[in-house]
Amino acid sequence: MPDGATPVLDVKDLKTVFSTRSGEVHAVNSVSFDLRPGELLGVVGESGSGKSVTMMSLLGLLPSPPAEVREGTVMLGDIDLLAIGEDKLRAIRGRDVGFVFQDPMTSLNPVFTVGFQICEPLRKHMGLSKAKARDRAVELLELVGIPDARRRLDDYPHQFSGGMRQRVMIAIALACDPKVLIADEPTTALDVTIQAQILELVKELREKLGMAIIWITHDLGVIAGIADRVMVMYGGQVAEHGPVREIFANPAHPYTRALLRTMPKLTGTRDAKLRVIEGQPPILGRHPTACPFMARCAHAFERCGTENPQRRDVGNGHDVACHWDHQGVPV
């Protein structure tokens, strides 16, 4: 991970708002991050933390209305994805940026063969002939470890198991050699032994193809195994961000610390009782003027209610949005 390299993706101050009958929901609030060539950025957060909505906003994948990307820039190289309009965006989706979704059953079309679905982006974006696209599709299926690839092209998604379907999804996402691969909870629907297979595959593919990956998950264990950098999201904002070892060794945000403590471990001593984070995740109704974690935070004080903390650098490429510093002194 070359540190000074120009990022392939640079997101600044992204704001996405949903209009609902009961008012606006601020799902993504001033989220900024970058993605460097060849690195894997892990995005962690609970449901409703805004991690998926952020990624879908980047590529205009949210239905509008109700969603509206209100502010921000998303630079893919020197193109601002938020400014170029739907037609040009369509040419970028699937070609420069590949997407892998959580549930491989619902994201593959059940009435088309797997071969057809892999060939579709190849013919559309790369203009390959039918025969060439088919050859490339076989290559891709072999790349993601599906045995007997040529024959399986004519199978339908239901003829594949869950893990194999996710491999097909990855093959589709990789079809046009994307610069960026966004994987939204790609292993959440899978069993642990199958998840282990997919994680191995992704590690292999990274070495072979060298694309940059954004990996969204709620599983800190998965992140620990594959990510270079981690971004922890809470209540539509970035709570903390830094290199993976930093985040796990010196978590600076009370939310990250609490999250790491609540997880039972597979080794070591068993706690008599699990540590909990009391309360519920916030409802993102109003424009946030307070820290979203305040209601559940053990260290909350007056200022947390009146001022939404800004991200500040704490060294080693690590930043945190909290009014407290490491020593427990207000900043």
Binding site: V192, T193, E200, L220, V244, L274, Q280
Partner: protein, 350 residues
């Protein structure tokens, strides 16, 4: 351990779902969802059941409450075989055994209020006056940490964790002794999971409950269970006290399963020598010959493809079914599978 009372004894339980096919819709085969499992649950303990999807853990849980009609085997609760009870007698037994379901969204009727949902078992099994029922409902809401003021709200007004609390309150309504928790935290966020697990533990202590805790989350099962059974393709491949199972797994499947769990520690994760199993779980309609695990086992031998391994006691209370485990004297060979299976009764040294 002999003084501990067995609340539940499951002996060679089988549950096969028939497959019909052909022109005349004859039965052409069966999905062997649960294929001969034997275990006990002691009073006041938590038995964890782990395994991947399709291994039969949920089916086993439901069969134990006789929510499915069993194909063979017996389920003894307090010495009474509920597998053969008539519906009427079974109904009288129901209050003692309850269930908490995985999906708190789907298992609560959206048209009933919280009070209605929690009170339904009382309507069915008691003839208490309204006021007494309401008092009990409030008591239950207090016990699971729900605000009494929300009794007249509908499930949609609650978050996932709160809905699961409603489901737990309903299961507690009739003072059960035994609760099957079928993936009760799988649909919840990490920060909410710990809340629900702590609640289950508190309630267990308070009411002396016995749990069968079905989950695919090995770390959480390690936390909550006293003993753990690992299922693969309809069979229990290993059963042991929790620390024994996690520290000294005897079955290659348990080993692989444990090694596949990602740990939230980057340095540990990158050092770890992960056993990655190849392929998928075979179909339970057509399980492989010999050992069920032989198609994916990294340590497979010729004998595994021929003969089904016998369950042996590796250490006191630690049982596993694998050909790699030396057969000790007194633990006899392959022909006596069934005989041996019925002897897997924890705490008894065979």
């Amino acid at each position: 351990m002999s003084e501990r009372k067995k609340l539940l004894q499951v002996i060679d339980l089988k549950l096969h779902f028939p497959i019909y096919g052909g022109l005349l819709r004859r039965q052409v085969g069966a999905v062997k969802a649960v294929d001969g499992v034997t275990f006990d649950i002691f009073e006041g303990e938590t038995l964890g059941i782990v395994g991947e999807s399709g291994c039969g853990k949920s089916t086993a849980g439901r069969a134990v409450l006789r929510l499915y009609e069993t194909t063979a085997g017996s389920i003894l609760i307090d010495g009474v075989d509920i597998a053969t009870l008539s519906q009427e007698e079974l109904r009288k037994k129901r209050p003692a055994m309850q269930m908490v379901f995985q999906d708190p969204q789907a298992s609560l009727n959206p048209r009933m209020t919280v009070a209605g949902i929690i009170g339904e078992p009382l309507d069915e099994h008691t003839n208490w006056p309204r006021a007494k029922k309401l008092e009990r409902i409030y008591e239950l809401m207090d016990a699971v940490g729900l605000n009494r003021d929300f009794a007249n709200r509908y499930p949609h007004a609650f978050s996932g964790g709160q809905r699961q609390r409603i489901g737990i309150a309903r299961a507690l309504a009739l003072n059960p002794r035994f609760i099957v928790c079928d993936e009760p935290i799988a649909a919840l966020d990490v920060s909410i999971q710990a809340q629900v697990v702590n609640l289950l533990e508190e309630l267990q202590e308070q009411f002396g409950l016995t749990y069968m805790f079905i989950s695919h989350d090995l770390s959480m099962v390690r936390h909550i269970a006293d003993r753990v059974a690992v299922m693969y393709l309809g069979k229990i491949v290993e059963l042991a006290p929790v620390s024994r199972l996690y520290d000294h797994p005897a079955h290659p499947y348990t080993e692989a399963l444990l090694s596949a769990v990602p740990e939230p520690d980057p340095s540990l994760e990158r050092r770890k020598d992960r056993i990655v199993l190849q392929g998928d779980v075979p179909s339970p309609a057509n399980p492989p010959k010999g050992c069920n695990f032989c198609t994916r086992c990294p340590k497979v031998m010729d004998i595994c493809r021929e003969t089904e391994p016998v369950t042996v006691e590796v250490a006191p209370g630690h049982f596993a079914a694998c050909h790699l485990i030396p057969q000790t004297a007194g633990q006899t060979g392959g022909a006596e599978v069934e005989h041996n299976q019925t002897r897997i009764q924890q705490g008894e040294v065979v």
